[in-house]
């Protein structure tokens, strides 16, 4: 009897101890062959497998081992890793979180020491520069383009000569393509799409230390979008029961959408939809598009820093980037590789061409909250007061910028 009770107590204590052991797990890095963990925000199996293959190739060469983990929620898992002193040795760092991470000293600034540091697109280097230091190496990039459903284009009697090159021809094409069941143009109601119209009108959000969100140019951009929506030739994906622009295009609910090279992903769900990508039309202030990018982040003070930097050098080499481009359609971040890619993949050449004049969406530490507030306010853009939306953005963004500069 007595033995039994002590046994039960011992078992209970053992369970607790076992739970505790779970959290620590894993041994310290071995002396020579280091084992690295790589956390990626994967777009699908193709990407995970391509990254794993590349990591395996590097492992062969270097004698280290790499475990590739596809995150289900990258930001959350990263936060968890950093808080637990257990951050992955290498991870995808998105452009919109970069400044926040860099300002909190999460990131190891290694990019300037890379032998190929000078090969990256200058715009991409700017995105990942914090306080004058080029911090992490751009992994790849995507720009926005105008994606046209070619069957609908032909059915509406439009030809190559009608491909929109400016705002007027975009409006004309959208009007012609709008039918009872299809809307001419569709894109998400968010800064990452509508912002290009503000830039095309000649506007920008930040000029040095001042925020210029409520400029007449930005207003003109918003008003053009309002005009298209009022005319019924532009609808947000949510208005036509689509989750995003690509779905609207694939399902034939929209004839034109503004999306990036990831549009390739709709082939799985909508294999019959034929489309072509073009550069975005020019606005009164010239050409403009957004470039979105990720970098290879390494945690500050990482024990495996040197091995991780070596791996980044391997992953950002032209050959490896072209292999990634073939596997899952991302555009290489170095100018030479991107040029080769554009030749090999003419269907995506317009996205590469766009990067010559593309700008990165605004990203400084703390700007993400303001942008998400701006996105929320944009919900009332249709039939709403564009000027008031920009004024509120101006106030909030200036406050955030002042705070970022004060730190």
């Amino acid at each position: 009897m007595r033995k039994k009770t002590w046994g039960a107590a011992l078992l209970a204590v053992g369970v607790v101890a076992g739970l505790g052991a779970c959290s620590t797990g894993g041994g310290d890095s071995a002396e020579e062959g280091q084992s690295l963990t790589m956390l990626i925000g994967s777009s699908g199996d193709a990407e995970t497998q391509a990254v794993q293959a590349a990591a395996d190739a590097w492992s062969e060469e270097s004698g280290n081992t790499v475990e590739v983990v596809a995150a289900s929620d990258l930001t959350q898992q990263l936060s968890q890793g950093f808080a637990g002193d257990d951050a992955p040795d290498l991870f995808y760092m998105s452009w919109d979180q970069f400044a926040t991470y860099a300002s909190n000293n999460y990131l190891e600034p290694y990019a300037e020491q890379l032998p190929n540091a000078g090969d990256f697109y200058p715009a991409l280097q700017d995105t990942f520069t914090y306080n004058g230091t080029f911090t992490c190496a751009p992994k790849d990039f995507s720009t926005l383009g105008l994606i046209i459903n070619t069957d609908m284009w032909a059915a509406a009697g439009l030809t190559d000569a009608d491909i929109p090159t400016d705002w007027d021809s975009l409006e004309a094409a959208a009007t012609k393509l709008t039918t009872a069941t299809t809307v001419g143009l569709s894109f998400g109601l968010e800064y990452a799409r509508i912002g290009v119209f503000m830039n095309q009108a000649g506007g920008q959000l930040v000029d040095g230390d001042t925020v210029t969100a409520d400029s007449p140019e930005n207003l003109a951009g918003l008003q053009y979008v309002q005009k298209l929506h009022d005319a019924g030739v532009l609808k947000w994906p949510s208005e036509i029961s689509a989750g995003w622009g690509g779905e609207a295009l694939g399902a034939g609910k929209a004839a034109m959408v503004i999306e990036g090279p990831w549009i390739k992903g709709i082939q799985g769900d909508f294999p019959d939809t034929k489309y072509a990508a073009y550069e975005l039309p020019e606005g009164p202030g010239g050409k403009s598009t957004f470039t979105f990018t990720n970098c290879w982040g390494i945690p500050a003070g990482s024990e495996t820093r040197d091995a991780a930097v070596n791996l980044v050098e391997f992953l950002t080499s032209d050959d490896q980037q072209l292999a990634f481009g073939d596997a899952f359609g991302v555009l290489p971040s170095t100018e030479s590789a991107a040029a080769t890619y554009a030749e090999q993949h003419p269907e995506n050449a317009s996205f590469v061409a766009g990067n010559d004049y593309a700008v990165s969406p605004v990203n400084f530490a703390g700007s993400a909250t303001v942008i998400s507030d701006f996105n929320a306010q944009l919900e009332s853009l249709a039939g709403g007061d564009a000027k008031a939306i920009l004024e509120s953005l101006q106030t909030n963004l200036q406050a955030a910028l002042d705070e970022a500069n004060a730190n």
Binding site: A12, G20, T100, N104, T369, Q377, E379, S380
Partner: protein
């Protein structure tokens, strides 16, 4: 046994055994509950940025984090105000509706004459045991612009709204119906937490109404079960006695059954209040606060501030304010539902009733 020292007696070492047996529980609760709560409280007063353990990697900043969401005007304060407003309307509608529906269902399935009671009990309880993620996903499909609900409304000749994409508040929409489209002068000024009074009276957005329906649908089954258990504890003789006294069904329900359900009612209201103030998974799935931040709730805001903005102190502060709100409301509700048959007030009332009875008897005797 006989060799143990005098005075210790037969129960001498029971205390030691007691501690041994509850040690695992104390350890588990301590490690997973008590320590994290105090650590979170510390974080809410610190400038921890999420790098390494909070202890040793942060310093105390006083009430800065609380001031940022409560006092300092800015985006952080307005976001918090918006989330409180959204959640307030959510609680205001969900708690009474789910309690009333649960009680109604419990009374129905408790009736002896109902055929197929077992089937109905299972059917009503089913949403409660289904994962809220699955139900939310189904609701998202049902309520798209051209979804099943709008098709159904279309047959009735009603042009349904674009539910999950409609940020307009329903009180604002009602006011629009009577010609008030923008804030009257008095309401255009600043109310608490950085929102104008006009923003405060917006009512739940159309999107929030869907979540309200969802919450009532999923939780009333659970509470129905609680009410059902309580109803079955009320003996048939009490029902009979009430009938003998000439009480009709309505009178019987409100004057006999309902008062006897009071402890259960308290439980249901408290659980409902706590659950609704902490709504998170539905928000996470339906677009993280979209449309127009009208689905933002304090629980989600705390998560977003911490994990996305890396302002862990601010996020923890929001959580503790939410905790205080829940405690305050629970105490208030306990006060309202307090037992009126005990305490000083009850004695006074009893004496008064007694006096009146005597006076009446005296009058009748004359």
């Amino acid at each position: 046994m006989g060799k143990t020292s005098v005075g210790k007696g037969i129960r001498g070492s029971e205390g030691r055994y007691g501690w041994t047996f509850i040690a695992p529980a104390i350890l588990i609760i301590g490690v997973f509950l008590v320590v994290p709560i105090f650590l979170a409280l510390y974080v809410s007063f610190s400038n921890w940025n999420g790098l390494g353990s909070p202890i040793g990697n942060s310093s105390l900043v006083g009430g800065d984090n609380y001031a940022k969401v409560l006092v300092d005007s800015g985006l952080a304060q307005r976001d918090f105000g918006t989330s409180i407003r959204n959640n307030f309307y959510y609680v205001l509608l969900v708690v009474p509706l789910q309690t009333a529906l649960a009680l109604f269902l419990a009374v129905q399935v408790n009736r002896r004459v109902l055929r197929g009671r077992g089937f109905f009990r299972t059917a009503f309880y089913f949403p409660s045991v289904t994962s809220s993620v699955a139900i939310t996903t189904i609701f998202i499909f049902l309520f798209t612009a051209s979804g099943a609900v709008n098709t159904l409304l279309g047959w009735l000749g009603i042009n349904g709204p674009n539910w999950f994409a409609d940020p307009s508040g329903i009180i604002h929409n009602l006011l629009k119906g009577v010609g008030v489209t923008s804030a009257p002068p008095l309401f255009n000024e600043g109310g608490p937490l950085g929102l104008t009074w006009w923003d405060w009276v917006s009512g739940p957005s159309v999107a929030m109404c869907v979540l309200i329906i969802l919450a009532v649908f999923t939780t009333s089954g659970t509470f129905m079960l609680l009410f059902l258990a309580a109803l079955q504890n009320i003996g048939a003789e009490i029902d009979e006695a009430a009938e003998m006294d000439g009480a009709g069904p309505m009178r019987k329900f409100f004057s006999v059954t309902l008062p006897m359900l009071k402890p259960t009612l308290f439980t249901v209201l408290t659980l409902g209040l706590i659950g609704t103030w902490q709504v998170f998974d539905q928000i996470y799935l339906t677009g993280k606060g979209a449309p127009g931040k009208t689905l933002l709730t304090p629980a989600f805001l705390a998560y977003d501030t911490s994990f996305k903005g890396l302002n862990w102190g601010e996020g923890a502060a929001i959580s503790f304010i939410l905790f205080l709100i829940i405690v305050a409301l629970t105490l208030l509700q306990r006060y309202i539902l307090r037992d009126r048959d005990t305490g000083r007030g009850a004695i006074r009332r009893a004496q008064k009733a007694d006096r009146e009875l005597h006076e009446e008897a005296a009058r009748a005797a004359r």
